[in-house]
Amino acid sequence: MAVSLIVVDYSRPTHPIFLQEPRIGNVHSIFNKATNITLDGTMLALLSDELPRMPNSVRLRSDVTYKLLPNLKPGMEVCVGNYSLVIPTCNFSLQLSDTPLWEPRPDVNSYQWNRETVAQHTRMLTQFLANKQPQGGLTPLVGPLFLDQSLQETPLSRMAMPNLRLLAQASWWQNLEGIEEATRGLAGLGPGLTPSGDDVLGGFAAIMALLSTQLSADSIPRKHIASKIASVAKPRTTKLSGLLLEFASRGEVSEQLGTLLLTLMLPAEEFETVLKAADHVLAFGASSGGDTLLGILLGLRALEGKID
């Protein structure tokens, strides 16, 4: 007997996939509370509603997720289209009609942005991240990059550090060759299904796509830099990471990251709110959250034109 269920919510960029005539995709990977499905070169993430929304997510009630996931295997066929998602082997069917759409692009244009206030938040966030004494990934580079702290040399930090500096400097000077070189050095670098270098690039690209118009010290928009990063990185990293970078280059980010970016327009005295939002970003993955935050800080510094 088929189980037919209504999803909790789904992300706006996935909407066109569900509008089409049904197509066949496959289960790509399965985790405790999520599964990824590949389809026509893109990837849908079926998530438990315990997890935050992603630009490619379709969220289900947690009890449904727990029943579904143990029965999935990589490669299983999934039929997506006509406002439904069907996994025939599991007699599983999801309906999307009347389900709310979630918009992953934070509405940055509805707010007034003050460069000085954002700069103050940036400094406080930098200190906050450094105080965490992060381990793993590229997050430990926050001190050496921004606070003149000494660099603990590891093969990863040696490879990443010059490219991080180059990315920020080249973005300020709009040097596309430099951006390409830095991206080539960072894409796919480090541990994780979304390698650390990609998480940094994602945060950086999101800033360029969403806030470069409002925040760059020379008032020059830099959205094209985000697109450049995504196009250079995509063939050099995992499918999932490449896809998330594409979303980031359009300003489409996870729920926690979007919230954090919007808090940056708050007055300086409301830094606690910014900090709480940053904490939620940090809670993502083993080092992904910290690496993304590092990318955000790097992007914000680059827009100030103050990267040495």
């Binding site: 289960v27 541990p191 390698p195 993955g285």
Partner: protein, 527 residues
């Protein structure tokens, strides 16, 4: 030196899984380094730079690995150690539930309470550890199915806790939690727990490491535990009213095996404390440890209850009342087992402050209470007074005690009892500070805790002391070691290894704090 590798095409694990697998393999003897990465072009370059490039292995592959393939590489002292590490990595990966390609017929872990109950209808206790947002629903479901609940999850709203506890009481059940770290029910340890024989002392506690300290000291006296019932840290707050402590007390009062009962909590609300003490007027002896609460304040309502100021004091009273020999507990008599005056004399004049690094919140509280009595303000992230709070960006300020197990340190990483990385970082920072006179840290053994803490702390202690020596300083390190001989890590083995590294090891947290205070009281005086 050999480099061996394992390639798993089209295989995806989340980064937390990969990190823990890599760490488990890296902890093995003979393993020099390990990498577990997606085989992207730059990650192959990274492996090359880290002397982890499995050149021969890659040459044997029919096609070069790509960015969708997981590559695990080990560098070890010889073939046997490398293969052992890869086997551990693979075993860890396949034994975890968070991957998709589980083989057909493999027994999947129960994914819901419903599924678990179908497998064993006789089960009458649910251990719940999901995000706080969903924990309440799961707990309610378990209670409605007639099950006692051990609720490990935190971030459950207080109103929900109140409602769930009322539901549990109405059904004659226990709701241990939320944020309940420790319990021993019918001899089975739940959460962070120690191995102790069954005996005649029962505990009801609103404090995880507080209960562990009591259990371990009682075990040191050769006595055992009948039941140890956790209540969750907020149970004795005004909002909750101590309902689960009263229920636990009631159960132990009626339990034939229990002869002496200990109640333990961080400072309770005044009204609740009085109600608990009123409920404690029973035939069996009851020892009450309300940390931070002055026993004199409750003298008029304590009645038959025996009030103790510290965990060690509580354990000594309980052991005596249960007919045991309290002198077997390593209490005051153990304070001078090390030559503290000699250590004190070696301190430089700049070394004035205690730097206490705790993974157990209650142990940290107890240490701060004892230290502040002698030394005044103790800066902390869980301060005894608001004005002693560490500012953002401050690592240490004067005498400092940190609870490294609190949320701000554990977000996105394992608790320091499981993974001591954060403790080691702060240990190094404290050692580098010329104002540090003594480092006080706790190590908690038992189930769920790190497998061999001495193997990571000992080298760090040796290095810290050596570094201080080069800088012309002596650096005493005092360890509050909470564990039993039956624990998987074995108390005596841990103690021996830590002492060999130059640490002074106390099994009583109170004595560890007192020893630290003795070292700095005089150094300040000399200064």
């Amino acid at each position: 030196m050999v480099i061996r590798a394992l390639l798993k095409p089209n295989t995806y694990y989340d980064s937390i899984t990969l990190m823990s697998v890599a760490q488990a393999a890296k902890d093995l003897p003979g393993v020099e380094d390990i990498g577990a990465v997606m085989a992207t072009e730059v990650n192959l370059e990274l492996l090359l730079n880290a002397t982890l490039m499995p050149i021969a292995f890659l040459a044997e592959q029919q096609a070069p690995p790509g960015s969708e393939d997981l590559l695990i590489v080990v560098r070890a002292i010889d073939e046997a150690h490398a293969q052992a590490a890869l086997a551990v990595a693979e075993e860890r990966l396949t034994s975890r539930g968070d991957r998709g390609n589980l083989s057909t017929g493999e027994m999947l872990p129960a994914r819901s309470l419903e599924m678990a109950l179908k497998r064993d209808e006789a089960a009458n206790l649910a251990v719940i550890s999901v995000t706080g947002e969903h924990a309440g629903l799961e707990a309610e479901q378990a209670l409605r199915n007639g099950m006692h609940v051990f609720l490990f999850s935190d971030n459950v709203p207080v109103e929900q806790e109140k409602r769930l506890k009322a539901l549990a009481i109405s059904k004659g059940l226990l709701l241990m939690g939320p944020d309940c770290g420790t319990a021993i029910i019918n001899g089975i340890g739940l959460g962070f727990s120690n191995v102790v024989s069954r005996g005649s002392i029962g505990i009801v506690g609103a404090s995880g490491t507080g209960m562990q300290q009591l259990i371990c000291l009682i075990a040191a006296a050769g006595m055992g535990i009948s039941q140890a019932i956790g209540t969750g840290g907020r149970d004795l707050s005004e909002a909750i009213g101590g309902v689960m402590m009263r229920r636990g007390l009631e159960l132990l009062a009626g339990d034939e095996q229990t002869e002496v009962i200990i109640l333990v909590s961080k400072p309770p609300a005044e009204r609740v404390a009085r109600e608990i003490l009123a409920a404690a007027q029973i035939m069996k002896p009851v020892v009450v440890v309300f940390l931070g609460a002055d026993p004199e304040r409750f003298a008029s309502v304590a009645g038959n209850a025996h009030m103790a100021r510290t965990l060690t004091g509580g354990a000594e009273l309980a052991v005596s009342l249960a007919g045991g020999d309290r002198r077997r507990i390593p209490g005051k008599d153990a304070l001078y087992k090390y030559d503290l005056p000699k250590e004190r004399a070696k301190l430089a004049s700049s070394q004035r402050y205690i730097r206490a690094l705790y993974s157990g919140g209650t142990l940290c509280d107890e240490a701060m209470l004892l230290l502040s009595e002698r030394l005044g303000p103790i800066a902390s992230n869980i301060p005894l007074r608001p004005e002693w709070t560490l500012a953002v960006g401050e690592t240490f300020r004067g005498h400092t005690a940190l609870d490294l197990g609190s949320d701000e340190f554990t977000r996105g990483r394992p608790h320091p009892m499981i993974d001591p990385t954060i403790s080691l970082q702060y240990l190094a920072s404290a050692a580098d500070d010329p104002q540090t006179a003594v480092i006080l840290l706790d190590i908690v053994l038992g189930f769920c805790a790190q497998q061999n803490p001495a193997s990571v702390y000992s080298p760090a202690i040796i290095q810290a002391r050596e570094k201080a020596k080069v800088a012309g300083r002596s650096l005493p390190v005092i360890i509050s070691l909470c564990g039993t001989e039956g624990d998987p890590q074995r108390l005596s083995m841990q103690r021996t290894a830590l002492e060999a590294a130059g640490a002074m090891v106390y099994e009583s947290n109170e004595m560890a704090a007192r020893a630290a205070a003795l070292l700095v009281s005089d150094s300040i005086h000399q200064a």
